[in-house]
Symmetry: C2
Subunit: 201 residues, 2 copies
């Protein structure tokens, strides 16, 4: 099984016209350049113009999936920063640690967070500095670092976790339990499809 690293970024949104629900009015100005009036953002997600072997539907679905998670993730990030002066990676790392009472090895954090080990090094360093976590060399294996939440870190995390759950509930407002279940199940199948494809190399 190969490693799955990610950088930052966005995704493929070409071959698509503007969505009618985005409220954007596209027209041509003096320079013959596309310009829009009004909202702060516009997602490129919409109808695929050509569909080679009906890859179009998959592409459309992928774009919508990506738009949803980008939108939600961005908002969570923003609120975390504004209300708790915290970043998502920091929150995430503490979340992983929260259930590991005895602490967690750095490599395990890396796997669970699906980010590269080198990344965790610096992230942990900053969290140690701000007093949220501790880092201890294992007595049994001196290569190993054990990371654990401090009581301060735990208290801070608790506050954020509560707010976070509320935010998600707010954003998912109009989704009923039944719809949520359908989405959950279908996404489960998609996840398996992706994992299978990835395992095929």
């Amino acid at each position: 099984m190969k490693a799955l690293f990610k950088t930052a970024g966005q995704a493929y949104k070409a071959h698509h016209a503007l969505p009618p629900d985005a409220g954007t009015i596209a027209d041509v100005n003096h320079d013959n350049v596309v310009k829009t009036i009004s909202p702060d953002w516009v997602d490129g997600e919409t109808k695929v113009m050509e569909s080679p072997a009906d890859h179009g539907q998959d592409l459309r679905l992928w774009l919508r999936l990506l738009t949803c998670s980008t939108l939600i993730e961005g908002e969570i990030r923003r609120r975390l920063r504004e209300q708790f002066d915290c970043t998502l990676p920091r929150f995430d790392l503490m979340a992983q640690l929260e259930r590991a009472k005895a602490g967690m090895v750095l490599g395990e954090l890396s796997k669970r967070m699906m980010v590269s080990p080198g990344n965790i090094t610096a992230l942990v360093e900053r969290l140690v500095e701000s007093g949220h976590v501790t880092r201890t060399v294992s007595a049994a294996d001196r290569r190993v670092q054990i990371i654990a939440l401090t009581s301060f870190g735990r208290a801070e995390f608790e506050k954020m976790a509560t707010a976070h759950a509320d935010w998600i509930a707010e954003l998912f407002d109009v989704i009923t339990a039944r719809e949520g279940q359908i989405l959950f199940d279908r996404l489960g199948k998609l996840k398996r499809s992706v994992v299978t494809a990835l395992a095929r190399d």
Copy 2:
């Protein structure tokens, strides 16, 4: 409407046990630290342990949604890099430009890609340097930069777009047209839910 910026990162995966399908065996070693054996990555997505006011389902759904898009995005990124020595943001930007024959204003690119304007500046700079796009000051409004694909950039993009569509089709392999449609529709409702919540400020 507020701006929606994002940094890089992952998301909240706490309050969750390991998924049985991840193939991970968690146990406690000499240090009393959680260690796992086996795969390269483990997603933290799974059953929410406590559910305050049944925020649990939303949280679960969000986590699964995020896992799906992280997995897919990571793989697309990896292939783009390996097979075309290109990053996702570069590909994305070219994708936006591809349909704007006359070019696009920098600010419009920023909106469509849902990233901050300052980001586009550097991205465009690198694409100009590698000969994929051109940057021209508008004659009508000297504040404005018009960005357009070069024919080289267009040719390169075409190759990548074809491969990209195939990759998505491959990853979405087992999803049927009908299931895809259901997912698409439900995600559409979710998107509206999020956009509405965001518009409420």
